[in-house]
């Protein structure tokens, strides 16, 4: 085309002006130039510094939650994004970290202690007290029965082999340390985490 875009627009504009006589007065100048940008949703959300739960880059994350932690506002997490101050990730996140809000609010999060009786095909909700008492009872039964104080050579070994403990690798150090103390004190040797696998 010989006409440039600009010229073309001028021509169009002229034609338009000429042809829109009948429409004058109807073009709603009132709503004309307002355009709604979606409001920035974090404006006054509470920001909490945390670390991504997935890989061992352990990127810094900012967790935004509803409410200002005042007495009558229940915090609920609405957004997660990278912590720009964190020297390693510098605000970036990968596909897992960037979607971790979906982990926090996953419909598959566990909410209540559940109990599956032998031979049944379902979990039933139980109280924490029931669950914890039941577990410690089962532990004690097995430990008292199968604890090995001395090996065949008469050496004190104080070990318990018939119960094992697979620990998480996404626990905090403090949770890990307490787990270590709790488990080792019982004499369990079958004690592992994700590090080896």
């Amino acid at each position: 085309m010989a006409v440039t875009r600009r010229q073309f627009m001028k021509v169009s504009a002229a034609g338009l002006a000429a042809s829109s006589v009948g429409a004058l007065g109807f073009t709603g100048a009132g709503d004309a130039l307002a355009a709604g940008v979606r409001p920035f949703k974090l404006e006054r959300a509470t920001e909490t510094r945390n670390a991504c739960p997935y890989c061992a880059v352990a990127c810094g994350v900012l967790i935004y939650s509803l409410g200002d932690k005042s007495k009558n506002a229940k915090s609920s997490i609405i957004h997660v994004e990278g912590d720009p101050d964190h020297p390693v990730n510098r605000g970036t996140l990968c596909a897992r970290g960037a979607a971790s809000l979906g982990y926090i609010h996953s419909a598959n999060r566990l909410k209540y202690p559940m109990h599956r009786k032998p031979g049944t095909d379902k979990f039933e909700r139980v109280s924490w007290d029931f669950a914890l008492d039941r577990i410690t009872k089962l532990m004690k039964e097995d430990r008292d029965k199968n604890f090995i104080a001395k090996n065949r050579d008469g050496v004190t070994v104080n070990r318990w082999l018939s119960t094992g403990f697979f620990g998480g690798s996404s626990l905090s150090n403090e949770a890990g340390y307490l787990t270590y103390k709790f488990v080792r004190a019982t004499g369990i040797l079958g004690f592992e985490d994700q590090a080896r696998i």
């Binding site: 509470t46 909490t48 890989c55 061992a56 880059v57 915090s75 964190h86 020297p87 390693v88 990730n89 990968c94 596909a95 897992r96 970290g97 982990y103 598959n108 999060r109 566990l110 909410k111 209540y112 559940m114 109990h115 032998p118 031979g119 095909d121 914890l132 039941r134 577990i135 410690t136 089962l138 004690k140 430990r143 070994v157 104080n158 318990w160 082999l161 119960t163 094992g164 403990f165 697979f166 620990g167 998480g168 690798s169 996404s170 905090s172 150090n173 949770a175 890990g176 787990t179 709790f182 004190a185 004499g187 040797l189 079958g190 004690f191 592992e192 985490d193 994700q194 080896r196 696998i197």
Partner: protein
């Protein structure tokens, strides 16, 4: 990681081999792209598949899974043959010049001392140096003695010619040599290479030796302790480093101390084998301090109950006869030798190899406790999910208790990343429903168990009854209080040894450094390497000063990097023996005439002058790094290529000893290995950028980004089998079979191995029958239950399979 994520930006060459950083650690991989963009660095990727790391690499080379040692030994041969090593560094900082005992030899795939009956190197006495009458290792500074470690190494790797490398690994010779040349460019003092690896190296029967091979290359090139250098393990879980440090491992205690074995019948025996004396004059041999760390730890655990008289409660610790690692426990479960099991955030049903064996084992348990923030396959192993988990709940008598744990966002505490940096995180909201933090759950279990023993007595209750749990809120201790205990504190006033009239630390004060730990019971500290994280100055893990004064990515006031806030390990080696930086460009830590200085905390006693000739590798008895590993590895002082247990070919180097001779194979698994006549394809498992292990199939958006299990196969294989993109195919191994959709790709090309084309099959691990992603057969149905000879990490990365076209799986009636 010996170095840090940020330090990668200082490098000139990145080798990603045995890992796939771009997909598994995208935000850490950022520092590779930074090095490329701002430092002119080149990126080499060696991988069986053309991965997303390879997509941005300067050079990509394919390799047959499980042959990394052949490749790396070939590199060592190239470097030594072409004299592309950092001579002065190798001579001063490694055991290159140490003279190895006459008895040591390597013949037909076996080192000396092999006991064929026990399948172990029972007698490793020859794997050591000639010692002089002082008990010091003999050396030949001229390197002329043929028994010098470096000369033995030369002889050992001589067999790994480029032709042999190509024959074993399938890497085309030209590509291999190109990579050798690129790596060789970093043997000069002002250039470094970094190695980034992950499970691609560890998950082999030769896993530890894979990494050792790389460490040796880095030593030959003079890249250890250097900015932009090192051997960097890119670890998997957010706090797997911390949990490893804390020894949630069968035979360890926190801080890389070791539990006693039942051969160490007394505390004295135990200590005797820990106190590593220097093997060269004047060396630090830092493990000489072992007892200080051990006693402080016992004081932390058992408080007043650990006394000198009861050998610091030595008998409160269980003694091990063998490693009760994951594979061993699964084997015991399957053999009906276990009654109870806890799974705290570990989905063992998918995470352990040979899923069918795992399920058999779980079904034989009397009870299982699952503590997790999410639904897992493990918690529901008894539930029928059609062909994805075809079990009969009625026949499974395992009692299961599932406890809801809160997640990271819902609790505060510290975690240690792959760079060993301990960082604090804060709580943003409560967890859902009645979920509780792991701290609270574990505390409740301990206190209730303790109460039961207090009430009823029972088997050896002492360690439970005496365990320190004197927290302000015992049922839900404050993490800060726990971190203080881990850091350690003085139990009594500590006098200054230089001036007894002065007190270094008052009773109750937090230890600023593990240097103050004592073996006399006057200090407590749960994990010595963390000492300094919480001092009288406050919680160092909370520090958030992102400043980087040197511009080298050290960030010294961000969190706390163990040990002693050191960011690059062995950094004394960044300076020459005279204490001057090897080059201005790679200046990191140096001697300023009176002390060691630089941007980082020196990995060295700060005031020992260079002329004292104390080696930089202070944790070793020699003060130098080991090209020859002595008896530290169960499968040899030098790495050697052995075929994976599912062996694709007979080992061309020594067909009679084709696979690693000292691998532990359980009797139950003896017949579980595949052979190439039935399973002619080499498979490897891997992770995808879109998913994290087995968690994110429970996250909607991640399920959107990779919704369904697929299997990657090359075009040649697809054509031969009549498979189109998106077809359902069956992948089978000696252990079982799965169905998955075919992803036919140009990114896997057949490679020539031992004269014939070898097709590789890629299997992502992330899918199961729980979650929002499409239900799938757990991929670990296929993997062999056998582990690395050193640490028993399962061989997920190299096994044999076959593929064929099939029909879609039947979807279970109930979703």
């Amino acid at each position: 990681m010996t170095n840090s994520w940020n330090d990668i930006k200082n490098t000139d060459l990145v080798l990603i081999m045995g890992g796939n950083a771009a997909e598994a650690h995208p935000c850490g991989f950022k520092w590779v792209t930074e090095a490329k963009a701002n430092n002119g660095a080149k990126l080499i990727v060696v991988d069986p598949r053309f991965t997303r790391s390879a997509a941005v690499a300067d050079v990509y080379a394919p390799i047959r899974p499980g042959t990394d040692i052949a490749f790396l030994s070939g590199v060592m041969r190239y470097l030594l043959a072409n004299n592309k090593i950092h001579q002065e560094y190798v001579k001063a900082y490694t055991n290159a010049s140490y003279i190895v005992k006459e008895g040591f030899a390597f013949n037909d795939g076996l080192f000396t001392g092999f006991d064929a009956g026990r399948k172990a190197y029972v007698d490793r006495s020859s794997w050591d140096y000639e010692l002089d009458d002082q008990g010091m290792a003999k050396v030949d500074e001229t390197l002329q003695n043929p028994r010098c470690a470096i000369n033995l190494l030369k002889a050992h790797v001589e067999r790994y010619t480029p032709e042999m490398v190509e024959r074993i690994t399938g890497t085309p010779k030209a590509k291999f040599l190109q990579i050798c040349e690129m790596m060789a460019t970093t043997s000069v003092p002002d250039r470094t290479m970094t190695s980034m690896y992950a499970l691609g190296w560890t998950q082999h029967t030769t896993g530890a030796q894979n990494i050792r091979s790389m460490a040796m290359i880095q030593l030959l090139l003079g890249n250890m302790g250097m900015p932009g250098g090192g051997v960097n393990a890119l670890r998997g879980h957010s706090n797997v480093q911390g949990i490893t440090d804390l020894a949630l491992l069968s035979t360890s205690t926190p801080g890389y101390l070791v539990l006693p074995t039942d051969r160490e019948t007394t505390y004295a025996d135990y200590m005797k084998s820990r106190a590593f004396k220097p093997l060269r004059p004047g060396q630090t041999s830092f493990w000489q301090n072992y007892e200080k760390f051990f006693v402080s730890q016992q004081k932390s655990f058992f408080g007043a109950a650990a006394t000198k008289d009861n050998d610091w409660a030595y008998d409160y610790l269980p003694k091990f006869d063998t490693s009760y690692d994951v594979l061993k426990m699964v084997d015991m479960m399957a053999a009906g030798q276990m009654n109870g099991l806890f799974c705290q955030g570990l989905n063992i049903m998918l995470a352990s190899p040979d899923k069918n064996k795992v399920v058999t084992g779980l079904a034989k348990l009397k009870w299982m406790v699952v503590i997790d923030p999410l639904e897992t396959e493990t918690a529901r192993f008894w539930e029928n999910h059609g062909e994805f988990n075809n079990v009969d709940p009625k026949s499974i008598q395992t009692e299961v208790i599932q406890l809801p744990a809160s997640a990271y966002a819902e609790e505060e505490g510290s975690a240690t990343n792959s760079s060993r940096v301990i960082m604090w995180h804060w709580k943003a909201a409560d967890g859902p429903g009645e979920s509780k933090s792991d701290i609270e759950i574990v505390s409740e279990l301990h206190l209730r168990l303790r109460a039961l023993y207090a009430k009823d007595g029972g088997a050896f209750p002492d360690p439970i009854a005496k365990l320190t749990w004197n927290y302000t809120r015992p049922h839900n201790p404050d993490p800060a209080e726990v971190l203080k205990e881990m850091n350690g504190y003085a139990l009594e006033d500590l006098p200054d040894p230089a001036d007894p009239s002065k007190v270094l630390l008052r009773a109750g004060q937090l230890l600023p450094t593990f240097g103050l730990m004592r073996a006399d019971g006057k200090t407590a500290g749960g994990i010595w390497i963390y000492t300094g994280v919480y001092t009288e100055a406050g919680n160092m893990a909370m520090r958030r000063d992102a400043a980087d004064p040197t511009g080298l990515g050290i960030h010294p006031n961000w969190g706390f990097s163990w040990p002693a806030n050191r960011r690059v390990l062995y950094n004394r080696a960044s300076a020459d023996p005279d204490g001057k930086p090897w080059s201005e460009r790679k200046k990191y830590v140096w001697w300023n005439g009176s002390r060691w200085t630089g941007g980082d905390v020196p990995d060295y006693a700060p005031t020992i002058a260079p002329d004292k000739a104390v080696g930089p590798f202070i944790m070793n008895q020699e003060g130098t790094a080991r090209l020859f590993a002595r008896a530290a590895m169960p499968d040899g002082p030098f790495p050697e290529h052995y075929e994976p247990m599912d062996a694709y070919i007979a080992n061309p180097l020594h067909p009679k000893v084709s696979t690693n001779p000292v691998v532990r194979v359980f009797a139950a698994d003896a017949k579980s290995f595949g052979t190439p006549d039935k399973f002619p394809l080499v498979a490897t498992s891997y992770r995808l950028a879109e998913h994290f292990h087995y968690w994110t199939k429970n996250v909607h958006d991640n399920a959107v980004l990779q919704p369904e299990l697929f299997v990657e196969i090359g075009e040649r294989l697809a054509k031969a089998k009549g498979i189109q993109n998106g077809d359902w195919i069956e992948v089978s191994s000696q252990r079982g079979a799965i169905k998955a959709k075919a992803c036919v790709t140009k990114r896997i090309r057949p490679i020539m191995v031992d004269g014939k084309p070898c097709d590789v099959v890629g299997l992502p691990i992330h899918y199961g029958f729980i979650g929002f992603a499409r239900k799938a057969h757990p991929m670990n149905i296929l993997t062999p239950s056998v582990g690395d000879a050193s640490v028993n990490t399962p061989e997920y990365k190299a096994f044999l399979v076959d593929v064929k076209k099939t029909t879609p799986p039947a979807q279970p009636a109930v979703a």
